[in-house]
């Protein structure tokens, strides 16, 4: 029974890895390749590591496996986000049949202008503008 569960989990994980590798060869665009890579590889490796945890049936090995799964799930989306951000700013072209490019025209000044909050210079400029715009009493 245990070996059946292990076999099913390991097979599903390897099939996920196969799907990810087929996607990375066949997809037409860097961004679609990235999207197929991160998700499928993370899920597939997760099932393989769970099967290894079931096989050894030991507390130390199980905690080690959970740590590896945690690292993979934590780091893969961050790495994917950062490499896609860098790829967009270094000018890797989108697929010619891409429907929408929501970032287009918003960040013309380069990567320095892409921040979650406003930079100090922008805040100062805004304060100046606010001061000049407010009517004097």
């Amino acid at each position: 029974m245990t070996s059946l569960i292990i076999a099913i989990l390991a097979t599903s994980g390897s099939i996920f890895a196969l799907i990810a590798s087929i996607g990375i060869v066949k997809m037409p665009d860097f961004y679609t390749r990235l999207s197929v890579t991160i998700k499928a590889a993370t899920l597939g490796m997760g099932t393989i590591l769970i099967s290894s945890a079931i096989f050894f049936n030991d507390f130390a090995v199980t905690s080690k496996n959970i740590a590896i799964i945690f690292f993979l799930i934590l780091t893969a989306p961050i790495a994917g986000h950062i490499i896609s951000r860098v790829a967009y700013f270094t000018g890797i072209p989108l697929w010619e049949r891409t429907v929408i490019d929501e970032m287009k025209g918003k960040y013309e000044g380069g990567i320095e202008n892409l921040q979650s909050s406003e930079s100090e210079e922008q805040e100062k400029a805004k304060e100046k503008a606010g001061k000049t715009n407010t009517p004097k009493r």
């Binding site: 070996s3 292990i6 076999a7 390991a10 097979t11 994980g13 390897s14 099939i15 890895a17 196969l18 990810a20 590798s21 087929i22 990375i24 060869v25 860097f30 390749r33 990235l34 890579t37 590889a41 993370t42 597939g44 490796m45 393989i48 590591l49 099967s51 290894s52 096989f55 050894f56 030991d58 130390a60 090995v61 080690k64 496996n65 740590a67 590896i68 690292f71 993979l72 780091t75 893969a76 961050i78 790495a79 994917g80 950062i82 490499i83 951000r85 860098v86 790829a87 700013f89 270094t90 890797i92 380069g110 990567i111």
Partner: protein
């Protein structure tokens, strides 16, 4: 067919085939970013292969290597993206 031979002769070839397919993209990839994500997928598949080896040979000590590899993949991707963005900045100047 017991578990060990099933893992060795069915699951492991699937993983190795996916590794070969990813390596094709690693060789062909038109840009550096394609190669970076192909390398990331190669290392992630390597983590799975190490976990399978630890099942087949009944050695849980191999999993330490898998943990280190999972961290190194992240570091490698971050370092390559930093390098790419620095190159872009230098080209603009």
């Amino acid at each position: 067919m017991d578990l060990n031979s099933y893992l060795l002769f069915v699951v492991m070839p699937i993983l190795c085939f996916s590794l070969i397919l990813t390596f094709i993209r690693f060789m062909r990839g038109p840009t550096t970013a394609d190669r970076v994500i192909a390398l990331d997928l190669i290392i992630t598949t390597g983590v799975g292969i190490i976990a399978l080896f630890s099942i087949i040979y009944n050695h849980p000590a191999f999993l330490d290597v898998a943990m280190i590899l999972a961290l190194i993949a992240f570091l490698g991707t971050i370092a390559f993206s930093y390098y790419l963005i620095q190159e872009q900045k230098k080209r603009k100047k």
